[in-house]
Symmetry: C2
Subunit: 457 residues, 2 copies
């Protein structure tokens, strides 16, 4: 009798634990038992990092609400879960990992699901590498708890500076406004860099309408401090008093422990697993520590999103367990909202940017179309703007972006489905989408937008 | 110099006028002028019949709000529009139509866009063919105006009986509840017959929760009258006092004037135009007087919906004008909502029913999946139920139905896009749909529903 295959999972959040559970299920169907050990450096497993801004906003009552599966639930499924355990080295030839406590664990299969911690710029850090009081990132449940405490401490009327105007920056701005704070958003470049200029302008306008002080092109140079506590932020050309400073300038894959392993990595350290999650013999990876394959132009891109982590983790787990599910890439879909002080904007994108399309050799034609989310005579009707881009030669749909009121955002899924199928802008314009007055105009606005581009090809 | 082509359009609502304007535009691009005469039996053009229930509900202030293009706007575009003009006969060989006033008009091209008036059962009619007082259908702007007057006359607390529980029946029930009336809905069979039983049950429950008296299997046998005014309704096994009786039992194509013309017609009189709108040499048709081609099983079906009318009308107009736009069928998508008295249900379907699928020779596997419209911890999360059906052999997606809270309904468009592309249930399960906590669970519920079916094939 052989002993069960030893699987070591490094990182016990969405991708890792999704993989672990799926591997157990698939292997069990084949009559195989797996001995899975999951090593997690924090004290938390399987939580929704995406929900933290809404916890900060007061929409979610407690950090516990964000936990999808507790440590006990993982252990009940037979996983040997070890919290507070950081892996510092891996020997892929010898098939071992070493923890910060010096323990060496052997494995038959290694799953790397270490995620991507938030980047903290030097100006936010003390000499010992910790953040100043009142300064921090929004990434872990501990971060969330710290912000909820800080929000209570400073009280309504305090001023929050958010550094970064990507998804997290915008969501935190919403949270801070909802809590009654003054809000400044600083961004090094422009707002919502994942949108085309004309669409990000709409978001900028919404932020300002809601009372946000938005400073574009602001390179932060340092903090104003009272002892260890932040009291202000300086940037080239300006400054602002601040009770709290939220840093939301991106994340970076946690793959330092694999340095020198010979695994292919992107410049930022991201791994590049195949559709089954394999990065090398007996080594697998999924989630925010990886890049994902964008189907439209067949490029690797870094998109640390929960939806990719969950899908890739599941495919990895199934393959590890002996199945053949695969994660066949993505089309670069994402969504958020900005909803505060009477402004409600749903913000979504899918496909390529104009720059991506030109790099890939397409001949892109793009237009913004304005319309309404419902028949104009209905009280539900809210403005929506849709950017549609297609290739002049092949008429292939290349990208769609949406900014608008209630019901605008999820329209992106329809465009994503067309991109997934490599459909044309004519498919989008003429396909059979639903119509009733509370839900759309007779020609759905997404189809009007597609038709206008189709007419210009 | 030749005189311009004479085009006679019979019916000046969505399909006909969409066709007329597009024909003018396309012909003008080719340097051709058209002499278009549009004959409309009513006094109204190009209005949203779909909006009438919301006018009755008080969501829309005036019937004028429902008019997309006025008679003057059509005339300004150069169309010779004649209101109050009914066509009673057509001579396709001689290329003439005859009006009820006895006028004979010659044409080079004839466009039939006569729509589909509401069916009125015998029990609702006086001997002279008019309806009793307090009894009527919901189809034209005049119907809408009459109901708005009747609602004012009877006042809050009155009782409205709605006969029929299809889209219009459910929408009128919403309107009547919103106006403070007691509401009974009678249906000969079950509620929302376009849904599978398990989905229509959810709608039935919502109607009852909102205070509707819902009677399934009720075959109306007659009215109770006080003089010419209705005071009650009888059906086999029951009766109910009623101040108003709304009849919403379907519509029938207005093609009697083409009887004996030799054109192919469905049993109900519907025409069957090709993708360019042609039904015969120099004869075109679009809109509610036509059946439409369902791509999935290549069947003609009668789906008198504004979205098909607008698309087919545009393709017809372009083809008539010398272009080549085509309406390449539909996938049987439709949507409505029931929103009253604290209940909000969005109701949508696309693709085949189980019965359709079996008739077409598929081997359907279907499941209902329950989930939430947003991450469970968000205040936006509302219940949603999704029915997904796929073919066991080919894994092709065959149909999806949705009943749920805010944001549920428009999810149908994503499924419709997959059906349009003849995608599989695996495509739906694994494609890159948007995720953020206010908009969906990490695995979008539509994808969970697809995955569950995929696992059972």
């Amino acid at each position: 009798m052989t002993s069960p295959r030893r699987v070591v999972v490094v990182g016990a959040d969405a991708a890792g634990m999704s993989a672990a559970h799926q591997a157990l299920r698939t292997a069990a169907r084949r009559g195989e038992a797996l001995a899975i050990t999951a090593l997690e450096s924090s004290d938390h497993t399987s939580y929704s990092a995406c929900g933290i801004p809404y916890w900060m906003a007061g929409d979610v009552g407690s950090g516990d609400d964000l936990v999808a599966r507790t440590a006990d639930q993982h252990r009940d499924a037979g996983i040997d879960l070890r919290l507070g355990t950081t892996v510092v080295a891996a020997d892929l030839a010898g098939r071992t990992v070493t923890t910060s406590a010096g323990e060496v664990l052997g494995y038959d299969d290694l799953v790397v699901a270490t995620g991507a911690p938030a980047v903290v710029p030097d100006w936010a850090l003390r000499a010992d590498g910790t953040s100043y009081d009142g300064v921090g990132v929004v990434k872990t449940l501990d971060d969330g708890a710290a912000w909820v405490r800080s929000f209570t401490r400073v009280g309504p009327g305090a001023h929050v500076v958010v550094v970064g105007a990507g998804y997290i920056g915008v969501e935190v701005a919403e949270a801070a406004l909802e809590q009654g704070f003054g809000v400044t958003v600083l961004t090094r470049t422009r707002g919502m860099g994942m949108l085309e200029d004309e669409m990000s302008d709409l978001v900028n306008t919404g932020l300002v309408d809601a009372g946000v002080e938005l400073v574009l092109g602001a390179e932060v140079t340092g903090l104003e401090l009272d002892g260890d506590r932040v009291t202000g932020v300086h940037w080239e050309g300006g400054s602002r008093e601040a009770d709290l400073v939220v840093v939301a300038v991106g994340v970076r894959p946690a793959t330092d422990f694999l340095a020198g392993s010979g695994l292919e990595m992107a410049d930022n350290g991201a791994l590049r697993p195949d559709p089954h999650g394999r990065v090398a013999d007996h080594v697998w990876a999924a989630g925010d520590c990886c890049e994902v394959r964008r189907r439209i132009d067949d490029q690797w891109v870094f998109r640390p999103l929960g939806t990719h982590a969950a899908k890739h983790g599941r495919a990895l787990g199934d393959s590890l367990g002996g199945g053949d599910l695969s994660f066949d890439g993505m089309v670069d879909t994402s969504i958020t909202r900005f909803s505060a002080c009477g402004v409600h904007l749903e913000i979504a994108r899918t496909g390529l940017s104009r720059a991506d399309a030109e790099t890939a050799g397409f001949d892109p034609v793009a237009l913004v179309t304005e319309g309404t989310t419902a028949a104009g005579y209905m009280p539900e009707a809210e403005p929506i703007a849709i950017w549609v881009m297609a290739d002049r030669t092949t008429r292939r749909l290349l990208g769609v972006q949406v900014v608008g009121g209630h019901g605008a955002g999820k329209r992106i899924d329809t465009a994503a489905a067309v991109l997934w199928a490599e459909g044309s802008v004519d498919d989008l314009a003429w396909m059979d989408l639903s119509y009733a007055p509370p839900f759309s105009t007779t020609w759905e606005v997404l189809q009007i937008a597609a038709r206008r581009v189709a007419e210009r090809l």
